[in-house]
């Protein structure tokens, strides 16, 4: 049975279809990268995978539970096995990095404070922030914040790790460090990892499989090599960095002509 199974997922916002009958299986222990341009629907898909939004139709089955149609307590149980690091890191600014990581442990376990402190230190050490636990998020760099968010996502040893744009806004060296961290986590903890990104180098480095989204539909799903070899025009456009024709010459000329006519009339 797949760890995450998406079936005929349809999402609409005010009548506008954002995701159109998506189907995808993510196996246990697999790293699935959701790749796509801005507005392709990848972050929306991610929000449905972690149960933050309800779709118009279709289902998202995580560990055998349909999270689009389950009770709040079932959803809570499923969420205990998912760790999420958001694009903005979303660390609580009023808490230190240590307290951010300790939060899920304090709330969901009955561990002694000394054990929680030890676990927090271990999680921070895994992401290379062991010496920065006493700082507040606003005192950290962008890359450190994202690593802090990963440490918090790892706090309860989740089976599924979800990362939203982990390398967005980071310099190439820090982005590469995060890629290595994701690979390390997967090898060490045998997690199922779902990553949303539009960074191709990062996607090909960490992915077991890549699902390429365009305008709410999967254009191609396969391994990195399969995606690279794809002849789908949209996939090729994305891989070859071909720009869209935003301003077509005839329409611009017509607009300019109209403007001149209006000016002459005055």
């Amino acid at each position: 049975m797949p760890m995450i199974s998406i079936r005929d997922l349809v999402v609409e916002y005010e009548g506008r279809r954002v995701l159109d009958k998506l189907n995808l299986d993510i196996e246990a222990g697999e790293t699935m990268v959701l790749l796509g341009g801005s507005g392709s629907g990848k972050s929306t898909l991610l929000r449905h995978i972690i149960g933050l939004e309800r779709p118009k139709s279709g289902s998202v089955i995580v560990k055998g539970v349909d999270i689009t149609n389950c009770s709040p307590s079932e959803l809570k149980n499923v969420r205990h096995s998912i760790g999420v690091a958001f694009q903005s890191a979303a660390l609580f600014n009023s808490l230190t990095v240590e307290d951010n990581v300790a939060l899920p442990l304090r709330e969901h376990t009955a561990l002694a404070p000394s054990i929680i402190d030890l676990m927090v230190w271990m999680k921070l050490a895994v992401v290379g922030l062991a010496d920065f636990g006493k700082l507040h998020p606003q005192e950290l760099s962008g890359g450190m914040k994202k690593r802090g968010a990963v440490a918090r996502a790892l706090a309860l040893d989740p089976e599924i790790l979800v990362l939203d744009e982990p390398s967005a806004g980071l310099d190439p060296i820090v982005a590469a460090e995060l890629d290595e961290l994701i690979l390390l986590l997967k090898q060490t903890f045998h997690m199922t990892v779902v990553v949303v990104t539009h960074e191709m180098a990062s996607a090909f480095r960490i992915a077991d499989r890549i699902a390429m989204l365009h305008q709410g539909s999967f254009r191609s799903v396969g391994t990195g090599e399969e995606i690279k070899a794809s002849q789908d025009p949209r996939v090729r456009q994305f891989l070859d960095r071909v720009p869209e024709e935003i301003a077509k010459a005839p329409s611009v000329a017509a607009h300019f002509e109209k403007y001149m006519q209006r000016k002459e009339a005055f």
């Binding site: 933050l52 969420r79 205990h80 998912i82 999420v84 903005s88 979303a90 600014n93 899920p104 709330e107």
Partner: protein, 267 residues
């Protein structure tokens, strides 16, 4: 004509939706508030409640005290200028004591706290929403109502009545200052007259009002925060809305409570 009806209908539905959301939020918070209580609740939630109590209550003490002192003095001055003509200057004591315990103490405190803490609740929760902190709470299987709102509501329920008592004391003390300087009435004698003029039900009705005001301020502030959509400009709008709506609702609630107490004979 159809447009006018459409517009009125739309606004009515919006207002009903707002009141409905406030009610749902209130019931959800009452169900979650146990977690913020000491001993029986979650230790970290109670710590958050204490922090909030300090912010809502302790930090507002100088401002509320000064406001009460000034208002008490103004009330005594205005009352005296009329009552003196009838040779009834001693009724200033009744006016200040009863006016503050029943009405001005709770109302002044609520308006001060609405401006300070209601806006802070909206800004804090709105920012948490914009920066995805509320989403991160949900994915950690923590309910924002329980984690964020319950400590704030419990803290408001404790702090605002306490602040109201402080406000009453300062307002009445201002009346004492006026009486001392205008008639050389000894402070101890003034306080004896104050105790004679107010009854226990005056204090209780004032405190009932302050509990209702605390509910309005905490829930309107938090609801405005939860309703933030978009970016920082939306946080600014929600902060303004929190102050405007909570002040308006506090005054409406005050009028309703005063009418109820008047017609049921509690005053």
């Amino acid at each position: 004509m159809a447009t006018v009806f459409e517009s009125v209908g739309k606004r009515t539905i919006e207002h009903l939706d707002y009141v409905g959301s406030l009610n749902i939020q209130l019931w959800s918070t009452l169900r979650a508030i146990k977690s913020a209580l000491p001993l029986v609740g979650n230790r970290y939630r109670w710590q958050a409640t204490v922090r909030q109590m300090l912010q809502i209550g302790y930090d507002a003490l100088p401002m509320v005290s000064l406001m009460a002192l000034c208002t008490g003095f103004i009330l005594a001055l205005q009352g005296a200028s009329e009552l003196r003509r009838f040779g009834a200057l001693h009724y200033v004591i009744d006016l200040v004591a009863v006016g503050f315990t029943r009405e001005l103490g709770p109302l002044l405190t609520a308006i001060a706290v609405s401006g300070r803490s209601g806006s802070a609740f909206a800004a804090e929760i709105g920012t948490m929403k914009v920066t995805e902190e509320l989403d991160s709470l949900r994915v950690m299987a923590l309910e924002p109502i329980e984690f964020v709102l319950a400590p704030k509501y419990l803290a408001a329920l404790i702090s605002i009545p306490c602040l109201t008592i402080v406000s009453n004391c300062f307002g009445i003390a201002a009346g004492g200052l006026f009486m001392f300087f205008s008639t050389r009435l000894a402070p101890l004698l003034y306080f004896r007259y104050v105790l004679e003029s107010i009854a226990l039900h005056d204090v209780i009705t004032g405190l009932i009002k302050s509990v209702a005001f605390a509910t309005i301020i905490a829930h309107v502030g938090c609801l405005e925060g939860f309703r933030v959509r978009g970016g920082p400009d939306s946080v600014g709008r929600s902060t303004t809305n929190a102050v405007v709506k909570s002040t308006f609702l506090v005054i409406v609630a005050d009028a309703i409570f005063t009418a109820i107490f008047y017609f049921t004979g509690a005053h």
